[in-house]
Symmetry: C2
Subunit: 108 residues, 2 copies
């Protein structure tokens, strides 16, 4: 199991690439095989495979093999961890701005 | 103005580094000078400056100079853009899982 910092490093790193975000986007419609996922991209299968590996290692996607086909599916937990990290910081900052605003109004 | 894809690339890239996330964390407590921000890190001022530049170019932080001091503050809008991207995909995927669950129950 990765520690939380490393997991976040990998999740944000994985999401920083537009091809990998497009793969995540496609996977919101449901599980897909590696060749389904490769189809819209002008990219070799090994290159797509490498992106999938990054998403898998980042905990954003899991895959299992059924017969000869490898099926990929999103991992909501991995997405939540990255989302929550940002949401909590943004909320703290906005709370601070609101407090400052109230302070300025009451002392104005 | 960066296009939306590039802005997201940069925002997620910026957040993939633990030092930069620690800087964001610190900035939730309020604006800070570059030397305030550098203080907890065992790192040269130029190295910290470089991290701040990445955060600034990613739209997660802005800075302005007052006299000799450069003040940094979080940019809630930049944080929201990254958070919203993840939240929307996670919501789509969870909605799909719920629909599948209902389908399995009704046909079970």
């Amino acid at each position: 199991m990765l520690n939380h910092q490393t997991a976040l490093d990998r999740a944000f790193q994985a999401l920083s690439d537009p091809t990998r975000r497009a793969i995540v986007e496609r996977l919101t419609k449901g599980p897909a095989s590696v060749s389904d996922l490769a189809e819209p991209f002008d990219m070799s299968l090994p290159a797509v495979h490498q992106h999938l590996q990054v998403l898998n290692e980042a905990g954003l996607m899991s895959w299992d093999k059924k017969g000869r086909v490898r099926w990929c599916r999103l991992n909501a937990k991995g997405l939540s961890a990255a989302e929550d990290w940002i949401a909590q910081r943004r909320a703290l900052w906005e709370k601070r701005l609101d407090a400052l605003d109230r302070h300025l109004k009451s002392s104005g």
